[in-house]
Amino acid sequence: MAADAQDTPSQTQKPKTKSVAARITRVLASVPFASVVVALIAMACIVGTLLPQGQQVQQYLTAHPEREGLMSALDFAGLTHVFSALWFVGLLLMLAASLAVCSFKRYAAAMRLHGRPRSRAFGSLITHISMLLVLCGGVVRVVWGERGQLGFREGETAETFIVENRSVPLPFKIRLVKFTTEHHKVAGTESVTQEEEELLHVRIKNEENVWSIPVMEGASHALTAEDATPSAKNTYQVTILNRLPDFVINGGHATSRSDELNNPALRVQVIHNATTNIQWIFALHPGFNMHATSNQIPVEMIYTTEAPAPQSEQPVKDWKSTLEILDNDVVVKEKTIEVNAPLSYKGYTFYQSGYNPNDPKWTSLQVVRDPGVPLVYTGFLFLIVGLTMVFYLYPHGRHER
């Protein structure tokens, strides 16, 4: 490597007219160019979070049908799927090229001058290479990775999983030995008596009254505290915007995986006193508010999907599946998985993902194969090591002061 670096063609040819390649690499390795690329990526990210993306576009059009023309224009410009658009991938590739060229050039220069990179330069080399590793890991994930689900009941064995409606074989079998759920103990949970299937219970803080609203997308109710006259100050306008029976986050967006009530979620808007608050409410996780702003409007909401049995009134604390892997019909591995503790075998990882409140023996698993993860994690480690070297082990202090 050292010898290579010392007689690179660019060095021997440099004194003569510069080749196009040399000029391109010089631009790629320059800090202003890199800064512009990074700034462009940052701006693309801003666009990607401010404009509706992917499935959000459909939701947006339902709310604003008159903006159809605008949306198709944005779609044409590739702005409604920024993070998978070719131009965005192109920007990332430019960043990767810039990182690669500047790392190589710096490395070669250090070898020429000192025979080895000096300590600080070494830190910055590691920093930049780490980001290349992360980007490479991302490429591997997109090209060779797979992700899907499988659902089964206690005692059943699966040999395939589902990736976007198509069945994909596993190179081994997996059996669900046992499935259990644990519940939080919450003191003072009110018992709800309604027989209705799906209800949203709303209580204004410090009020006795609980309104139980049948769940329907688009339904809107104006609730006024007892003894108060309806006014902006006393009235809470509650609107059910979306209902997802099987809530998952897919590509950063909330969607429903199926019509089964596996993880029912409601997107609810509350307007009170000129403040609007939109939040997700989960039937299975009453304590989990995805919106910090929910605290600004003093209402409490609970979403129930059945006349609650004594146990399922409590929020679910954890759910666990005991799994067995059968390779050539021999049990090679057994593990009890939970939400944060998956099972991995032969590059496949099984994550606990859902359960069905009406079928306590059934569970769904997320199946992921991502051969890029080791690269990405190595990159993460290098990044932390590199930055620590640059900032703290060999800091700039000396020539700064």
Partner: protein
């Protein structure tokens, strides 16, 4: 009991602010030591508060707006004490105390009940993630204050000696380096957590994306400063812009951009 402790912390931080302000405007040097003592005592007491809440909840108390603001105030005080151990800039002390106090006041506007967590949030990676992010944010917050300080004294150019300016400029750069390292660790532990909870280390959710944008802005700062020699005003403006991105990531995303992540 917990509320009393919270209010006591608030009162001590208020004392730190008042004494720092008097030390700054009336040039009472000993008072600056009182102020630092109060800030340290406040931070210590707040450590106890966080520890008690941890025990009571049976998990790291970093999971909603109230808890994250308390953590932010604590990290701000602690990181500033480290800066203060190296360099004393009275105006920066005052500004930091004011900020700590504002964050505490804002925290008290949120509900402080301890609530159970959904399964995906019960993870040590998540606690490390939130903790390191907030250490990073406090570094950036102090760099923001010192950048504003720099712009103020650079405008009132007459009296201020160059050494003071250079010192403030250096505080901006050093706290950004610190913040950058911890934001990096924060983003990474968040990615590792997401991968262990649902098998994706990155899904371009608005909060993730905005933390990446913030990270890019500070990466540009580091390159401009160390490779192109940007100091003084230009560096200060990037530091201010960077902190605006932090604020948007922290508050703005939860408020205006829907997504999974809005709990902290």
């Amino acid at each position: 009991m917990m509320t009393t402790l919270f209010n006591l912390c608030f009162a001590i931080y208020l004392l730190a602010l008042v004494t720092a302000a008097i030390a700054l405007f009336a040039w009472r040097k000993p008072l600056s030591w009182v102020s630092i003592g109060a800030l340290s005592a406040g931070a210590l007491l707040q450590t106890v508060y966080i520890g008690m809440r941890w025990v009571e909840a049976g998990r790291a108390p970093f999971s909603n707006m109230f808890e994250s603001l308390v953590l932010f105030a604590w990290a701000l005080a602690v990181v500033y004490l480290v800066v203060r151990a190296r360099i004393n800039i009275p105006a920066l002390s005052t500004a930091t105390c004011l900020m700590v106090l504002l964050v505490m006041a804002y925290a008290s506007a949120f509900e402080s009940d301890i609530k159970p967590l959904m399964p995906a949030l019960q993870s040590n990676w998540l606690s490390v993630h939130v903790f390191t992010c907030f250490l990073g944010y406090s570094g950036f917050a102090i760099s923001f204050l010192s950048a504003i300080g720099f712009l103020v004294i650079a405008r009132a150019n007459s009296k201020c000696p160059d050494e003071t300016k250079n010192n403030i400029d250096m505080v901006t750069a050093k706290t950004i380096s610190f913040g950058f390292l911890f934001l990096t660790v924060g983003i990474i532990t968040g990615a590792v957590w997401a991968n262990s909870a649902w098998g994706t280390y990155w899904s371009w959710d608005p909060k993730e994306t905005w933390s990446l944008i913030t990270w890019f802005v500070y990466a540009i700062f580091l390159h401009c400063r160390y490779m192109r020699g940007w100091h003084g005003r230009r560096a200060a403006w990037i530091a201010i812009f960077g902190f605006c991105c932090v604020l948007f990531t922290y508050f703005g995303v939860s408020r205006w951009l829907p997504g999974l992540h809005s709990y902290a």
